[in-house]
Amino acid sequence: MTHVYDSRGIPRAIETAAAWLLGVLWVLPLAYAFWTAFHSGEYSTRFVLSAPLTLDNFVRAWAAAPFARYFVNTVLLVTMVLAAQLVLVTLAAYAFARFEFPGRGLLFALVLVQLMIMPDVLIVENYRTMALLGLNDTIVAVGLPYMASAFGIFLLRQTFKTVPRELDEAARIEGCGPLQVLWKVYVPLARPVYLAYALVSVSYHWNNFLWPLIITNSVESRPVTVGLQVFSATDQGIDWSIITAATLLTTAPLLVAFLLFQRQFVQSFMRAGIR
């Protein structure tokens, strides 16, 4: 496909150069972190191509903090939140998309409130609630405020509304109840949206920091982001080789997943954005 307004000649060369300059600027901090993490301390600020590579920083970082436990916590957290979200969001979206009932408009407006006022800003009160429920310093407490996701309800409701009514009615004539229709007609048709939502949700909760920092207090419940912060804020203060190694270590699963499923990631973020 040719674009009539693609630049040619000198303007084109300038644009390509600018795009690359920006691209280099964008990978520079990451590239720098990789350099430091894979070289011994004395090379962390000296860029000699012949500098010997080493995995020593990773070994020392892994030994210096219970990262394995943090990873388990994060995986548990992300799985639990996603599983709960998928169930809650599906049921709510189906009700809003295909049922007539008193209070529908009001309830939907109440859901949309969460798009603006996210749990991220209600930290003080939610901390109080968790203390009342006796859930402080548990993985459940980290995930609970996010399980009913307004974003997910909205996204799926829009998707369910595009399902042809005829399919719905055909399934009902064959004797399916409402939940069976949901499971056999709506859920399969919305599969790409589920994938998109899952990727966005997983990366959001893998990366979430402030609320977990507040509500967790021990190695048993801390997700990897908070673990990383605790690790780099203590004595390690000066040893950048170890800190960058730990930083890359904790982001590696996400980074690898992203590089492998680049296209799906980008398309998912796109899909989740167009509503």
Binding site: V4, G23, A33, E125, T247, T251, F258
Partner: protein, 291 residues
């Protein structure tokens, strides 16, 4: 199915989600309002109604005003910068630039990294004497400077990190919008003799308006929600130069444990987000007319 059975079905399906929303969104928002009119319970002394005392304290608190103005400047600089950059990036990687695959990857990668990891990396980048920035500037003979440690450069340094992190995220939405635009438009405009810039300004930009609105709303929310990098890089310092509103709430609520005052501060944040919601609905109303 009878009508009442249908109602019952719908309500039952909504129940779990609505219960959790009520418990962790609606109730805390209301409770924040109530607690902002009470004192902080201390030991055996339970909270008492104090009227507007917390708000009086807020009006007289220079740190609050500083955090608010920091947040204002933070939003004012980072939002236009990241939106403009993201539009530029999207236009480039939508065209036929050499190495498009690599560039898309390069622009988007910061988005999937946790802000806390990003902050660690940038802190190293900014480190006095050792950091890459210092070395590059030093090579040009510039004097050493503590970017995160001095009042005048700490907030701008944080802003750069934010723009770096957000531009790639917004680029995705512009890219999606650009790809859904019909190439016939460009052909028609070229036949009419419109210049490239004219086409961009008169056709592309207006067509991207809904995307810009969506991105803008998200950018504003993020400007008031994203404080992870503050916790890691500066802890609000030096001398509150990088204290943003939510970070200040976190400090008051969880380092000084003054939950009543934190509630009053949260009310300000909720008011800002509420105004934003109203503004957004105003825009949406207008957008409907174009369809």
């Amino acid at each position: 199915m009878t009508r009442t059975a249908q109602w019952a079905y719908a309500w039952l399906m909504l129940l779990p989600a609505m219960a959790l929303l009520a418990l962790f969104t609606h109730y805390p928002a209301a409770a924040t309002a109530w607690h902002s009119f009470n004192s902080t319970p201390k030991g055996a002394r339970s909270a008492v109604f104090v009227g507007l005392d917390n708000y009086r304290q807020l009006v007289d608190d220079p740190v609050f005003w500083q955090a608010l103005s920091n947040n204002f400047w933070f939003a004012l600089y980072t939002i236009p910068a990241s939106i403009a950059l993201s539009l530029l990036m999207a236009t480039w990687v939508n065209g036929k630039v050499a190495g498009r695959g690599f560039l898309r990857l390069a622009y988007f990668t910061p988005t999937i990294l946790p802000m806390i990891a990003v902050a660690n990396i940038w802190m190293f980048f900014y480190t006095p004497e050792y950091g890459l920035l210092e070395q590059v500037l030093g090579a040009f003979g510039a004097p050493s400077h503590n970017w995160l440690g001095s009042k005048s450069t700490a907030l701008p340094a944080i802003m750069v990190v934010t723009v770096w992190k957000e531009a790639g995220f917004f680029m995705i939405f512009y890219l999606a919008a650009l790809q859904s635009m019909s190439p016939n438009l460009a052909e028609a405009a070229a036949i009419e003799g419109a210049s490239r810039w004219h086409f961009f300004r008169r056709v592309t930009l207006p067509l991207l308006m809904p995307t810009t609105l969506f991105v803008l709303v998200n950018a504003v929310i993020n400007a008031f929600r994203m404080v992870d990098h503050i916790v890691v890089m500066t802890r609000g310092g030096p001398d509150n130069a990088t204290a943003l509103l939510l970070y200040y709430i976190y400090e008051i609520g969880f380092r000084f444990w003054d939950s009543a005052y934190a509630a009053a501060l949260t009310m300000v944040l909720l008011a800002i987000l509420g105004l934003l919601a109203l503004a957004q609905f105003g825009f949406l109303e207008r957008r409907v007319h174009y369809r």
